[in-house]
């Protein structure tokens, strides 16, 4: 109990809510809004908030920033509906966890009710550190969004202030759950495991906003068959078919949406724009427009404030500005991204073709096209999504079914459907290049035609 904290938290509170109404024995941790608030949500219908802490967290500037970062990065260039933000998704994950703890786990002996608030906060804040076009951005500037999530939760931020009002060690607890180093593994597994609230939300949400017809599964049913156990949440074996559907949906979304070659092409270009801008800055190039927001990232001395000041609208503004730059590569790549003039691609089998790749790089150079920016191999391992694999003992935790005799059993050993999918090859490589440049007439036309012939086999 944190009764002693109450009077202090009054002083720091900036909320309009009248804290005195809680009475002497109510702490901020258990404070409820006078009336339940709801957010309308197309995936879960409503997101329900009753806890004062959750309401206050949603209002922080760090959480509001997530409205300006899209959940699916460049996917909107293929599926134009996919403009939903990490804000939507974060609320969705919160709502799923809320249903787990309040509707399914409540009262079960294996569930510790005192973990309720920490898991709700962790669910809401789990993606807090994502940057604009997260994956590409992290890749170029060698950053890790999970690290930034920790920094934001522990640093001098509004989120930290709210969490500290619960208890002085509360921010650390929330951070540990998200970092998967929390002492209660069951709590961790609700947010990060092979079947967690995070994946259950983004699969349904991404399916809804992209408009694809796969990606749907019966979450209500899954929630009802989830059982808290000491180290993880397991699934009652009678619910196996609902889980099979979820695994199928993960598989379908992987190939149809996440690994879509055209959105990968946009991602490749985006990555190369950032690479180019960084390389130019390192060479001392004078930009037409001073890239104020990027300087800290170019030199690798990034303060939390620099990080929080970025979002996708800022990046898109720079891409517009960079279309006017004198550096031909930066301006061309920016134009390609803004006007959606993407790279073409061919499938490639590196096992057979890796020597051909070297030749192509050489030919590109001879033709005056820098292969660093214009000949790019993209592999499945470059993608931050995956599909279900049982894996090796102690590699990472698989999905476990709870059998009628109380034993637990790895999912693919019971399900032929899952066994079939998880044995599937899931690797893929594509080579991206600008076909329009290779087809241009003019200097070195023959050489460029030769390159195109090799590429297209």
């Amino acid at each position: 109990m944190t009764i002693l904290n109450i009077s202090k938290s009054h002083i720091y509170s900036t909320e309009k809510y009248d804290h005195r109404k809680w009475g002497a024995f109510m702490s901020y941790a258990t404070a409820k809004l006078e009336e339940e608030k709801v957010f309308k949500d197309p995936v879960h219908r409503y997101v329900h908030v009753r806890d004062q802490v959750i309401w206050d967290l949603v209002g922080t500037r760090e959480f509001q920033r997530l409205r300006r970062i899209k959940q699916l990065g460049t996917t909107y260039l293929v599926f134009h509906g996919a403009e939903h933000s990490r804000f939507n998704h974060s609320l969705g994950v919160y709502e799923i966890v809320r249903r787990m703890v309040d509707d399914v786990f409540k009262g079960r002996p294996e569930w510790d009710e005192s973990e309720r608030l920490v898991v709700l906060c962790a669910a809401l804040l789990h993606d807090l550190g994502h940057g604009p076009f997260s994956h590409a951005f992290e890749h170029v500037f060698d950053l890790d969004h999970e690290e930034y999530t920790r920094h934001i939760i522990m640093g001098d931020t509004e989120v930290n202030e709210v969490l500290r009002r619960v208890a002085s060690d509360f921010p650390q607890k929330v951070s540990n759950v998200i970092a998967k180093t929390y002492v209660n593994k069951q709590v961790v597994s609700m947010i990060s495991s092979q079947i967690d609230a995070d994946r259950m939300d983004y699969l349904q949400r991404d399916a809804y906003y992209t408009g694809v017809s796969y990606g749907h599964f019966d979450m209500e049913r899954i929630l009802r068959v989830m059982r808290p156990r000491e180290d993880q949440v397991v699934i009652k074996s009678s619910g196996m078919h609902a889980i099979e559907d979820y695994i199928m949906s993960r598989y379908q979304m992987y190939w149809q949406v996440y690994f879509h070659p055209v959105s990968r092409s946009a991602e490749v270009i985006l990555t190369k724009i950032l690479h180019r801008a960084k390389a130019l800055s390192e060479k001392g190039y004078t930009f037409l427009h001073e890239p104020t927001h990027f300087r800290a990232f170019f030199v690798g001395e990034i303060k939390l404030e620099d990080y929080l000041a970025l979002d996708e609208s800022i990046l898109l503004t720079y891409f517009q500005l960079w279309m006017q730059e004198t550096d031909p590569i930066l301006s061309d790549l920016s134009r390609r991204f803004v006007n959606r003039k993407l790279f073409n691609y061919v499938e490639i089998d590196p096992a057979k073709d890796y020597q051909k790749l070297r030749e192509l790089e050489e030919l590109f150079r001879k033709a005056g096209i820098d292969p660093t920016y214009y000949l790019v191999l993209d592999s499945s391992s470059d993608l931050p999504y995956d599909f279900y694999r049982p894996g090796e003992e102690e590699e990472r935790l698989p999905i476990h079914l709870l059998m009628p005799n109380d034993e637990i059993r790895e999912l693919s050993r019971s399900s032929d459907v899952v066994d079939a999918i998880s044995g599937k090859r899931r690797t893929d490589h594509k080579l991206y290049f600008p076909e329009d440049i290779l087809q241009e007439s003019g200097k070195k036309k023959l050489l460029r035609k030769q390159i195109l012939d090799i590429l297209k086999g």
């Binding site: 089998d349 096992a351 191999l377 391992s381 003992e393 102690e394 990472r396 090859r425 899931r426």
Partner: protein, 168 residues
């Protein structure tokens, strides 16, 4: 192109053979913490730092035929053993330079058990904390493994030994 793949092949080739996915995961992580340039992103999982990216990359390399993967059925679970194929050897030769110290570090690690490397990598994962806090953190996140005091001091000694070989 494919430099990151080539680095992994080179890594396995320097080890000769690596038994167990977990072991390979921890070895690459420890090498990365010793400043060797591996790009794979790691997160903390129940069994210590784990990289999904590395898992996929290894799978790609097996599909390409650059790494061989032998499956051993251990009854309740399977274990995998990795080695480099001839094709893989010529593929990784495209990497012009390898760091002189990497072979020693890999050899040191490959002699250890997966359990020990799990301990070492977990300690390294929390290297921003003080020594006491790191030990406590290991007991918190890996309570079930019951690492002994002796293992703990061996692990710190091992880290010191590796740090002498590290790039800095």
């Amino acid at each position: 192109m494919l430099e990151e793949h080539a680095k992994v092949v080179q890594f396995v080739s320097l080890a000769g053979q690596v038994t167990g996915r977990k072991k390979l995961q921890k070895m690459v992580y420890i090498a990365k913490k010793m400043q060797f340039p591996f790009q794979e992103k790691y997160q903390f999982h129940i069994y210590g730092p784990y990289s999904e990216e590395l898992t996929l990359r290894i799978e790609e390399l097996c599909n390409m035929g650059f790494l061989s993967e032998e499956k051993e059925d251990k009854g309740s679970y399977v274990q995998y053993r990795y080695a480099v194929t001839d094709e893989g050897t010529s593929f990784s030769s495209m990497l012009s330079k390898q760091c002189d110290k990497l072979p020693t570090v890999i050899e040191l690690m490959n002699d250890k058990s997966a359990r020990f490397l799990e301990l070492v990598s977990t300690l390294l994962y929390f290297d921003e904390l003080s020594k006491e806090e790191r030990i406590e953190k290991v007991h918190v996140v890996k309570g079930k493994l019951n690492f002994t005091e002796e293992e703990m001091s061996d692990a710190f000694e091992f880290i010191a030994q590796l740090e002498q070989q590290s790039i800095n």
